[in-house]
């Protein structure tokens, strides 16, 4: 069965998935350890889509500043923020919002707490009904009940920080498909995220420099 993709507008990421975007009606996982870029990539993608679509952000650990969505150029009036007190609440809210018509639900957590079997199952049902996309962002392992339901796993790896004005202004990321039901496992791309900074005119994923990581930055990353 060929899956339909929800185009993020980032050609690097959209080409990677094999369906022209994040697979609709399916679960996508941006995996990686803390500090590997999944956090900012997730927010940047959410911000990009919030300009034209209703989006939801489930912040399991309460570490997201929703102002960052705004700083990445997103439209907060299109964004519903969920701050669950228990993991079950977060999964239930994601299911309800996806069912109601939210196009992309970003669920963020560095470590995933175990959930019951029902939570991911009902979320999958809601996704299939609403044709939305759920993106789990963060972590290197998922609860056993969730893992088999992931259609696409994109592994995030930070290559290097970019610096400006004696400050960290962004980061280079390497994305690689670690698991996919659409094929194309092992495909990768490299992109740069410009962090929201007062001096930065452009924030979010900067695609113009997709394949032009400065060699010294990569050397830094290799040595660091």
């Amino acid at each position: 069965m060929r899956l339909e993709g929800l185009a993020t507008g980032l050609s690097g990421l959209d080409d990677l998935t094999g369906c022209g975007g994040l697979p609709r009606g399916r679960l996508t996982w941006l995996s990686g350890e803390l500090g590997q870029g999944w956090f900012d990539l997730g927010l940047a993608v959410l911000a990009l889509l919030s300009r034209s679509l209703p989006v939801a952000l489930v912040d399991f650990e309460g570490r997201v500043d929703p102002g960052d969505v705004c700083d990445y150029g997103g439209d907060l009036s299109n964004c519903w923020l969920v701050r669950p007190r228990h993991p079950e609440e977060g999964w239930a809210a994601a299911r309800a919002l996806c069912e109601a018509g939210v196009e992309i639900c970003l669920m963020m957590s560095a470590t995933w707490a175990p959930v019951g079997r029902a939570a991911p199952a009902t979320l999958m049902g809601a996704l299939e009904t609403g044709r939305g996309v759920a993106v789990l962002s963060g972590g290197v392992t998922l609860p056993a009940e969730v893992t088999p339901r992931v259609a696409l796993e994109v592994e995030c790896r930070r290559l290097a920080w970019t610096r400006a004005h004696r400050d960290v202004s962004g980061l280079w990321l390497r994305l690689e498909v670690a698991r996919s039901r659409m094929g194309a496992v092992g495909r990768g791309c490299r992109l740069r995220i410009a962090l929201p900074r007062p001096y930065a005119l452009q924030t979010g994923v900067v695609e113009a420099e997709l394949w032009s990581a400065p060699s010294e930055e990569l050397r830094l990353a290799a040595s660091g």
């Binding site: 679509l53 929703p66 705004c70 439209d75 907060l76 923020l81 007062p198």
Partner: protein
């Protein structure tokens, strides 16, 4: 921001001549005399075309003598009102490219081109744009020179042909001026005569002589001569000021070197400008930051072009911070100007939104979630206006569901 002074000298035919050529294009290339102008009981020539100059007419010279020297010249009266209007128009064109413009007379102007325009990143690009703008207005090609001092820039403009630009790199002035005749230096006649007597004919001859020797021979003129020959004469302009169409100006208690301190004042500048723009119902297509160090000639500037016209504080603030981040020297006067004013763009965020139909349904789902799990699960947040802090609770307005 570059610290080395860079001046552009633009030399163009007298405005009266440009007006005459506009009205009578057939007179281009012909001998034309504009005047006479009455000065101290004398009738003098206001302007003369190249052909008339070649025949001996001189601007400021006796009108009668010019008539004799150039009997076939077309004589046109001066139109003071039209000249004044064109002068104003020309000043605005120059000021559009650099906020620091010195209008010397109706044939010559200096601009400080040290500042940076992101669309015209190089000096050559800025100078080309300057030349094009002036040519578009006057319909005659100007001469342009860029150098590290007024004299260097002026010589560069004189040696460039009409419609040409000559750029003298910083540090290359002495070499560039080496062949320039001392006869054309702005020095008293007596000094020039003595230079001739010494057999010093070019700037290169003089620049090799130590300064104490020049001062011993020529007194204060020796110092001036030394500076002129090495391109170290005055490197500042006395800018012609006009109130910007829309701007904010702040004078600080003393020179501030710390960028952080300037950044602290940025929200006030951005907020003030946003209020002014809102009052006029306009948005800025270009922002210019003019900074003064407190001493004359210590001014410098930066300008940038936002991707779309900006009008609100939220839009202005990052741009202002961006401009301020480039400051590299003490600042006492800070002026933020909004240029290229246009009606603000309409903001219809959800015009193309495909999710608009689901909004009510999502709100109902949120209400059900609150009923089930209690208030505080789902939040709607919006940016808070004013000058909120960095903490999310302060910078955002939080609404339940």
């Amino acid at each position: 921001m570059s610290g080395a002074p860079r001046l552009a000298c633009i030399n163009f035919p007298h405005l009266a001549l440009s007006l005459a050529w506009r009205a009578h294009p057939e007179l281009r290339g012909e001998a034309v005399l504009i005047g006479p102008r009455h000065r101290s009981g004398r009738e003098v020539v206001l302007a003369a075309s190249e052909a008339a100059l070649a025949r001996g007419a001189r601007p400021g010279g006796e009108w009668r003598q010019a008539e004799i020297a150039c009997p076939e010249a077309v004589q046109l009266p001066e139109d003071q009102t039209a000249i004044s209007e064109l002068r104003q128009e020309m000043r605005l064109v120059l000021q559009d490219l650099s906020p620091l413009v010195e209008w010397v007379d109706d044939t010559l102007a200096y601009l400080d081109v040290r500042g940076r325009d992101l669309r015209l990143p190089t000096e050559a690009a800025l100078a080309s744009q300057l030349g094009r703008s002036v040519q578009r207005l006057l319909l005659v090609p100007p001469r342009l020179g860029v150098g590290q001092s007024r004299f260097t820039a002026w010589v560069a403009a004189q040696t460039a042909g009409p419609g040409r630009i000559r750029l003298v790199p910083s540090g290359g002035a002495a070499q560039f001026l080496a062949d320039w005749s001392v006869e054309r230096l702005p020095l008293p006649d007596s000094t020039r005569e003595r230079l001739r007597d010494f057999g010093l004919t070019t700037c290169g001859d003089c620049s090799s002589i130590p300064l104490p020797d020049l001062q011993r021979q020529f007194g204060p003129d020796g110092l001036l001569l030394h500076r002129l020959c090495l391109g170290r004469d005055r490197a500042t302009v006395s800018p012609w000021r006009t109130p910007p169409p829309c701007g904010m100006r702040r004078v600080l208690a003393g020179p501030v070197e710390d960028t952080e301190a300037l950044r602290f004042g940025a929200p006030e500048l951005a907020g003030g400008l946003a209020v002014e723009l809102a009052h006029r119902r306009l948005a800025a297509g270009r922002l210019r930051l003019l900074l003064g160090g407190g001493d004359p000639g210590g001014e410098f500037w930066e300008q940038l072009y936002p991707p779309a016209p900006v009008a609100t504080e939220q839009e202005l603030l990052p741009l202002v911070l961006n401009l301020i981040s480039r400051v590299r020297r003490p600042v006492q006067v800070i002026e933020l100007q909004a240029l290229d004013l246009v009606p603000p763009p309409a903001r219809q965020h959800r015009l193309w939104s495909v999710g608009g139909d689901h909004r009510d349904e999502i709100d109902r789902a949120v209400a059900r979630l609150h009923e089930r799990f209690g208030e505080g699960l789902v939040w709607r947040v919006a940016p808070r206006s004013g000058h909120p802090g960095d903490v999310p609770e302060e910078r955002l307005v939080w609404n339940r569901g």
